[in-house]
Symmetry: C2
Subunit: 271 residues, 2 copies
């Protein structure tokens, strides 16, 4: 398995699929290659690219519970000859990043995060079995120590991702998992794990849930520990079930919105 | 020069810059690594990543002339302990993609474009010298033939990009370059060039101007030739001045908005 040099594999895939972009083939591929689907090359153990992004529309769950995006179709093909929407988007909707500015007075806004920080090694910390029994569980320093014991030091610039299995719930009430008092129950990073990672060169943490902090958090302790140090976060990431614990890379396609505190992003997993 | 396997180079850069993500270093890097800046590794001829994205805010020029984005700050750090905006965004603002659905009744929406199509070889067609004399100039079949004679066939899945030098004008009236009648003057792809590329496996065309069609176009002929074939476009791309004619790759980070006709994207150039 080529775990780094995915560009070569992707080009080889394309060469093997001349005509891929004809209308019918592309439409079929779009269905087959929805969020997190593996490529033919990956299935053959050859390396490839995974879409680590949920489709985002007005039905996607949000932290605050209200729809995160609304659409105004200002042109349509039948009447105007083209389609165009004006979107109203809460920055922290769908698969998105938290820029340092989200929880600091003057941290980096999303446009200020350099592209080198958005292309990074991926470390996957698997707590899915525990999360299945306890939705409030958290990534702890012990989890990180176990990952390091198995895989070596956290690479500089890495994104350390919590895999809790929550992405599979993204289209159900189980994603927010709110109780009768409205308190949500989903996993996140414990502040002590964030503090441990601040001692490394890790550049980002990612969760497959709605918040870096676990659902019942009342104080956003992990957000306040992590983001003001000018490191960034990713929430609602998909596709971690298809990524190795170590050796893959992420490309985090976050639009370059001036003064942005974060925003929806297309995230690529390169294996 | 390693022109494909950029991941290795990026990791090596990170290893050589342990502590990069401390607050001061990151802030400095964010300034130094603004749109299109080269990385230290690239400067040393080692391969790296280029930000091919303009910063987008309410001052960025748009095709229709109105601001493409507006901000509502619904929380601020001083009063709420965190910053958060709700953005109203015309889909075709800043460095963005045109999904096939933009100019077709039922083409692929942006969320339906598979990630394999968003990681692609880059072919740069340089018409900057001609555009300096004639802002209405267009990429022609002759330009494509000259590129092929110099560099070989267009790779399957490639993004063929027009480099006209227009990105340098992005913060001036010269970007729209409207005359007294409001007709814009900037370069684009001639429909015959688009038709020639439809005979290849190219997956996308890109321009460093506001439209795939040149400014004075009254009929969007190139949009109508290209997008309904379920190939996509990129407008307002930056950084082409730093890319080779052949051998580099793009990663097109377009958020996965359901029913989206396109949208602002973070675009990475891998050399």
């Amino acid at each position: 398995m080529c775990d780094i040099c995915v560009m070569t594999a992707v080009k080889e895939q394309m060469l093997s699929r001349r005509g891929f972009f004809t209308a019918g083939a592309a439409a079929t591929a779009a269905v087959a290659l929805s969020s997190g689907a593996t490529t033919p090359a990956m299935a053959a153990g050859h390396g490839g690219v995974v879409d680590m992004t949920h489709m985002m529309d007005e039905t996607f769950p949000t932290y605050f519970g209200e729809p995160g995006i609304s659409y105004e179709a200002t042109a349509n093909f039948a009447e105007n000859g083209f389609n165009l929407n004006v979107l109203t988007v809460m920055e922290h909707t769908g698969t998105h990043i938290d820029a340092p500015l989200h929880f600091s007075a003057d941290g980096l806004s999303v446009d200020e995060i350099p592209v080198e920080s958005l292309v990074c090694p991926l470390c996957v910390v698997d707590i899915a079995a525990r999360a299945a029994d306890d939705p409030d569980t958290q990534v702890t320093p012990d989890d990180l120590s176990a990952w390091i014991a198995a895989n070596g030091e956290i690479p500089d610039g890495a994104c350390v991702a919590m895999y809790s299995g929550w992405a599979a719930k993204a289209r159900s009430d189980g994603f927010r998992n709110a109780d009768d008092e409205g308190v949500m129950h989903f996993p996140g990073f414990h502040i002590e794990a964030a503090q441990m990672l601040l001692e490394t060169g890790a550049g980002a943490i990612a969760v497959d849930t709605l918040s870096l902090d676990h659902g019942p958090s009342a104080d956003f302790a992990t957000h306040y520990a992590w983001l003001p140090a000018n490191r960034y976060g990713i929430e609602c990431i998909a596709g971690l079930d298809q990524m190795p614990a170590a050796g893959a890379s992420l490309v985090v396609g976050a639009p370059k919105t001036g003064r942005g505190t974060g925003g929806p992003a297309r995230i690529f997993g390169m294996v």
